[in-house]
Symmetry: C2
Subunit: 354 residues, 2 copies
């Protein structure tokens, strides 16, 4: 049997704390019996609850932490009070120490981002991490990044996102080559801002073994599933993600109202309820729970704060899949390959110039 | 009876030209018998077709134009070949000459934008026009701008969009005060980029009679209908709009598949078909056809190139409503009011400083 895969969990994170994180960890163990957990939290709260989950207890080591980062705490304050000793920090630190393959927290996003950067540091040549989200599309799923880890990105940062996103797609979608598009306001070369155009130009000119650059994509190409990876800076990415969520809610609400309107539509709904159930499952945001910070020396997954055990288990499973498929080494290899290609191009240009 | 309202139409614009634009003009006359048209196009094509629409013919003056701007023509080429003489140019020019209340074209967006700017010029203090779109929400409708007329916007440009969008909302939604939000990645003051934060600060500090500033809004607030007007620069706005369109298509496709799966779901669909029909109508993109260029000395409406007569009529109707409610004078008054307030604030700051 394979070596166990170890996840460090900030048990206290999220709107519901251990009642969700422990229940999620329990659920995930039924799918992945080879999991082990490093649990970080307040013993007074966690230990009694852990008794309800003997399977989790048996698969875990528990570490008491005095400090819990509040959901509304500012990142600076969280860093000041929670560094070294909060459950969030220590879950991240377990990755740094090699005691866990990745960390998961449903806590405060800003604090998680700040602590992850501070503790794990960014990879060589990566200035800022990106937050990558899974996005369901008509064919299967794609990865969109950055969905809000930072605002704005220059061409080199966008390319970093592209390479890391492609590595994530390879780890997750079990493919050797991931297709990548740059999100833009049109598909022609002249469209968009300078950063996007420059990134597109470089990606077009650089031969990368594991990344198939497909050019610019537009907002409606995301749902269509035109590419595996959609790359954008965090402002536009966050707005795209939330706009899609809002539109999905809006249509669901219209549909519910329309179906409840007459006795005929209600009977129709009753008969077709299997279809609606299927649709609900397909669109279930809990299935896509889990944003991945990419570009750090270790993997940290952010779960939605308001999710339930099912959603938290999905965030754990997302990391499981990626870690089992060697996400970190894929990112390292692919980034190194890209920077080597870039250096070769610069060198050739220099020789031509001299 | 009120004075007739006059629309200048680029009859040749769009994927289908006169077969859609004339049919749309005819449809719109059934709703608004007080309309008159100034029609611009190639007489060899348009005049025979006009015979099929005697009502349109009776309500119109036709003007022959030798040149038609191609749907895929670059704006620079369209300006070079089509200025002064194309159907697109002359429809816009009719607004400038005061011969029409507004112009509508389903032609090439870039060319329409370039010609509109060149012919009508931007209003005082407005550097670049914005493209405003109607967006259905759970309560009713809102206006989102800029959805792609230009890329990037500084604080003063964003505020210009806010004031013009609010004037459009007042003309369209029959309200004295329009609520406005700035699209951002979070609602806290520290979120977003410098331009958005600066615009928010100024809007907060400036008392405007007709504009109620509601702070930052996120992507999912658009569909929720939190505010009448959502302001953003054209890159994020375009991506939000197309992402929403893509998500709507995606869910519709899921639903269709799910409902066709078993005989039970198909019977259910049959019984509830009234609800689906209602939903289809509610979501019909043709109803929301028509982007409005704001910030020019005259109103130009861009219809989707691929729409049909129903959609083209909706674009005509959008302009009708706004023109009847004095959109241009509302924009002028509100902008003047804003710049007066800003000047007063600068003056007060200067006096305090001296």
């Amino acid at each position: 049997m394979a070596e166990p895969l170890i996840i460090s969990i900030d048990v206290m994170g999220g709107d519901f704390g251990p009642s969700v994180t422990l229940a999620g960890a329990d659920l995930e163990l039924t799918r992945r019996p080879d999991l082990r957990y490093e649990l970080f939290g307040d013993e007074a709260v966690v230990l009694p609850m852990l008794e309800q989950y003997p399977r989790v207890k048996a698969a875990s080591r528990f570490h008491h932490c005095e400090v819990t980062v509040a959901m509304d705490e500012k990142p600076s304050s969280a860093l000041r009070h929670g560094r070294w000793k909060s459950s969030m920090w220590r879950a991240i630190e377990a990755v740094k120490k090699g005691e866990a393959h990745f960390a998961v927290s449903a806590g405060n996003t800003g604090a998680l981002m700040a602590m992850s950067k501070f503790c794990l540091r960014t990879m060589a040549n990566i200035e800022r991490p990106a937050l990558a989200a899974l996005w369901p599309n008509l064919k299967s799923e794609s990865i969109v990044l950055d969905v809000g880890a930072s605002i704005g990105a220059d061409a080199q940062q966008l390319i970093g996102f592209a390479v890391m996103g492609a590595a994530m797609a390879r780890a997750l979608f079990h493919t050797d080559v991931a297709s990548v598009g740059l999100l833009n306001v049109g598909v022609e070369d002249v469209k968009g801002n300078e950063e996007v155009r420059a990134a597109g130009q470089i990606l077009k000119e650089t031969a990368l073994a594991n990344l198939q650059y497909e050019g610019f994509v537009e907002g409606d190409d995301i749902g269509r599933g035109r590419v595996d990876v959609i790359v954008t800076e965090g402002f536009a990415g966050n707005i795209a993600l939330k706009t899609a969520e809002g539109t999905a809610k809006q249509l669901t609400s219209y549909l519910r109202t329309a179906l409840g309107r007459t006795w005929l539509t209600r009977i129709g709904y009753f008969l077709a309820r299997g279809a609606f159930q299927g649709l609900r499952e397909k669109m279930d945001p809990r299935k896509y729970n889990g944003g991945v910070f990419l570009g750090l020396n270790g993997i940290v997954i952010k779960s939605h704060g308001g999710t339930d055990a099912f959603g938290f288990a999905a965030a754990l499973d997302l990391g499981y899949d990626m870690a089992r498929n060697g996400l970190m080494s894929k990112i390292e290899t692919d980034l190194a390959h890209y920077y080597r290609e870039q250096a070769a191009i610069s060198l050739a240009a220099g020789e031509k110039g001299s």
